[in-house]
Every structure is written in structure tokens, then in C-alpha cells.
């Protein structure tokens, strides 16, 4: 069976194929990534907030060394998954320093998140590529889907996309994550983005995406992880097939929206490279071609993500069994 065939819907057979199990309103239950990496994130974030309020960015930055070391030392499972990723991205066996650099970059983006979400970007050097292409796309009035990944900092990207933009930017994300961002904004930065989150997993999430695009706005989503039970295809990524979601590409096709890739790459302390790349022109593939088009786009997305992973290997923030090797 291919990933794209539609399994019979009656009788309902959850997880029958692994591609489409029952989905829409399920609580995030047992997918390793929905719980493991975020627990660490939560603790780190709380600590970071405390430090930043009292001591400022520089102290926070210095403390990242012990903090990153602590989280690296205390998460053996994530370490194993990170090693599997680094081996592929670096093309060699990763050492302790490689692991530390990954954890350090991750911790840095969390520290920066606090500043970037609250719009305090003045001390940051953010290099931007492709902004003109994004503006040209938006000028056509059909909105734009921005596909990112758990790679680098989405907040850096948002800081750029949002600055002086005449259109709204909404982000599609898991409800638990949405709540976390909301709490962060409330705790530190005021209600700047509080309304601009569309929680995944509700029946009308995609309707809301549709409406934002119809108003000419941007919708950002991370297209490298699958929400519970979403349609996926196994697509070669860093030389081995990984389950990648087709949902974002099906959505883009259905709405006929233009699509750009968006990466906020961490390059060092308070240094980011934000890049927007044209990915797909507006227009709907015919009904019959929709699945094939989604698959083709997922493969192109994987290829671009792979290139970024090789060029900026320590920006990869998926600390779960990405290739599902343990299954």
C-alpha cells in the first residue's frame, strides 16, 4: 500500500496503516516528540525567564554553557537520537563537542526567543535573504504559506516577517506549544502575538488558515513533524526514508496558495540568517493530481531541509526518533 491510498474509513481502524489513523481531536498522547523535548524546553524556559528578568541577556548567554551541559547530560534518550541525526548530517561519527554545540544552539534559540517574541531585536544582527521575493508574493494578494522546520529559530523568522509587514502572520501549531508561547509572551513581552496562533487539531483549524490567506496574510507552519496520525509519506531525507507529513502540501494545493520556505538559522550569539525561498507558485493541482503533487513537494521540501542540515548541522531541533528506526 502506498502512503497516498485512502484506506477504507469504515470500519474505523486506528493506526491500520500508520498513515491515517483517527486524528482530529485527540490529545497528544504517545508520540515521543509531543512530550519529551518540550519538558526540557519548559524547564529551560522558566529558568531563562528568571535569569533574564534579573540579569539581562549577557548573563543569560554565559549561563547557557552550564545550562546546555546540564540538559545534554540529563537527556540520554535525546542524545541517542541527536547522535543518529548528526552522523547523517556531518557524514562522520559525532563527538561530544558536536552534541554540545547542538544543545548550545538549541538553548541559545530559547534564550533569544524571549527577546524576539517580545520584539526586542535591536541588539540582534539578523541577515535577511529573499525578503523581496516574499513581498512580491504578498503583493499579489493571495497570501503566502511559509513552511519552516524545527530548525533554527522560528521566532527570528517571525521577527523579520512581521517587521513592518502590512499583512498579518498567523502560526499553525500544536495547542500545547501555543499555550507555551502564549505564557511566555504574557510573562515577558506583553500581548504582541497572542492572537496570531492557530491551534492544530481542531476541525476548523484549516478553515482559519484559509481565511487568513484569503485576507492576503501569511500562515507559518513547521512541515517536518507530523501531528498525530496525519498523512505522511516516507521520503528520503539525509540518505534514508523518514516519515514526513503531506498535510502542509495537501493544504497548499487545496487552497491554491503560493508557498515559500522559511528558515531562521542560528549563526552565533544574537546572529541569525533568515531566508525566504520561493517554493511553489499559486494554483491548485487538479483533484486527481493533488496527492502526487503533495508527494513531489514533500520530496522537494526534504531536499531543501537536507541541504540546510548539512550547511548548518547544529540547527536541528528534533530530539526524537525522526527516522522512526525503533519501530
Amino acid at each position: 500500500m502506498t502512503a497516498l491510498s485512502r484506506p477504507s474509513h469504515l470500519p474505523a481502524s486506528p493506526a491500520a496503516t500508520g498513515q491515517r489513523s483517527a486524528t482530529a481531536d485527540l490529545p497528544a498522547a504517545d508520540h515521543s516528540w509531543t512530550k519529551t523535548p518540550e519538558r526540557g524546553t519548559d524547564g529551560a524556559l522558566r529558568l531563562m525567564l528568571w535569569i533574564l528578568r534579573r540579569l539581562g541577556w549577557r548573563a543569560g548567554h554565559l549561563l547557557l554553557y552550564p545550562i546546555a551541559g546540564y540538559f545534554l547530560a540529563s537527556s540520554p534518550r535525546q542524545r541517542g537520537h541527536a547522535r543518529a541525526y548528526l552522523r547523517r548530517a556531518l557524514g562522520r561519527a559525532p563527538g561530544a563537542l558536536d552534541l554540545f554545540r547542538l544543545w548550545f544552539a538549541f538553548s541559545s534559540t530559547i534564550l533569544d526567543r524571549v527577546f524576539l517574541t517580545s520584539g526586542r531585536t535591536e541588539k540582534y544582527r539578523i541577515e535577511v535573504e529573499g525578503l523581496d521575493a516574499l513581498k512580491a508574493t504578498l503583493a499579489e494578494g493571495r497570501g503566502c504559506l511559509l513552511l519552516g522546520a524545527h530548525f533554527g529559530s522560528f521566532e527570528a523568522l517571525r521577527a523579520v516577517a512581521d517587521a513592518g509587514s502590512p499583512v498579518e502572520l498567523a502560526v499553525l501549531m500544536h495547542e500545547a506549544n501555543a499555550r507555551r508561547v502564549q505564557a511566555l509572551v504574557t510573562a515577558f513581552g506583553g500581548p504582541r502575538h497572542a492572537e496570531a496562533v492557530i491551534p492544530l487539531g481542531t476541525a476548523d483549524a484549516m478553515l482559519r488558515v484559509h481565511e487568513v490567506l484569503a485576507r492576503g496574510g501569511m500562515v507559518g507552519l513547521l512541515a517536518d513533524r507530523r501531528p498525530h496520525g496525519e498523512r505522511v509519506a516516507r521520503i528520503p531525507f539525509l540518505a534514508e526514508p523518514a516519515p514526513l507529513p503531506l498535510g502542509p502540501h495537501l493544504l497548499a494545493g487545496m487552497l491554491g496558495a503560493p508557498v515559500m520556505l522559511a528558515f531562521g538559522i542560528w549563526q552565533g550569539p544574537r546572529r541569525y540568517l533568515v531566508r525566504f525561498e520561493p517554493f511553489a507558485d499559486p494554483g491548485s493541482p487538479g483533484r486527481g493530481n493533488r496527492d502526487a503533487t503533495a508527494r513531489e513537494r514533500a520530496a522537494r521540501y526534504a531536499a531543501r531541509l537536507e541541504e540546510n542540515c548539512r550547511a548548518h548541522p547544529y540547527n536541528w531541533f528534533n530530539f526524537h526518533d525522526f527516522w522512526e528506526e525503533a519501530r
Partner: protein, 95 residues
């Protein structure tokens, strides 16, 4: 996990029409008359996801002129089963 469809509840004509629309819009392998009118369409029941919801909303707007809006607080109920969806369409249809 359910196995056989035993005696399915007979659908009302309006429900049958909406069920046919669901099946054709989403290319389901289910027959319209086999959709249980009172069971959830999304999640556990028919197993539709939020992308299906969008596709269905677009099809409903085309066929009946009924716009499903995301800010409608009743969405959860409207989408909860074939019966509630049909009732909503019949109340608001423009054609």
C-alpha cells in the same frame, strides 16, 4: 474496533444528500448510506482530519452556498456528526 456494519440507521433524505457530498468530496471508499448519522465525523468516528474538514467546508460552500466560518463557536457541534451538519446546512442553505 468495530467490525461489521450491522443494521445501519436509515438516513433521512437530506442526510443522504450531505453524506453523498462527503463521500464524493473526500473520495471516501465508504458508501453514503453507511455513514452513521449520529457518530463523530472527525477523530474516532469516520476518522476525518482537519484537512478533510477544510475540503468539506469548501465543497459545502460550493454546493449549498453555506459558508462555514472559523469564528463560529458552534463549529464543534456543526461538525460533530452527519445529522448536525445536515441540520446546519438545511437551516442556512442559499441554494
Amino acid at each position: 474496533m468495530s467490525t461489521d456494519i450491522e443494521t445501519p440507521t436509515a438516513l433521512l433524505p437530506g442526510e443522504m444528500e450531505v453524506a453523498s457530498l462527503i463521500v464524493s468530496a473526500l473520495s471516501l471508499e465508504t458508501r453514503p448510506e453507511d455513514i452513521p448519522p449520529d457518530e463523530p465525523l472527525f477523530g474516532a468516528g469516520l476518522g476525518l482530519d482537519s484537512i478533510d474538514a477544510l475540503e468539506l467546508a469548501l465543497a459545502i460552500s460550493k454546493a449549498y452556498g453555506v459558508q462555514l466560518r472559523s469564528d463560529d463557536e458552534r463549529n464543534h457541534r456543526i461538525f460533530s456528526s452527519l445529522r448536525t451538519l445536515t441540520a446546519h446546512i438545511e437551516k442556512h442553505r442559499a441554494r
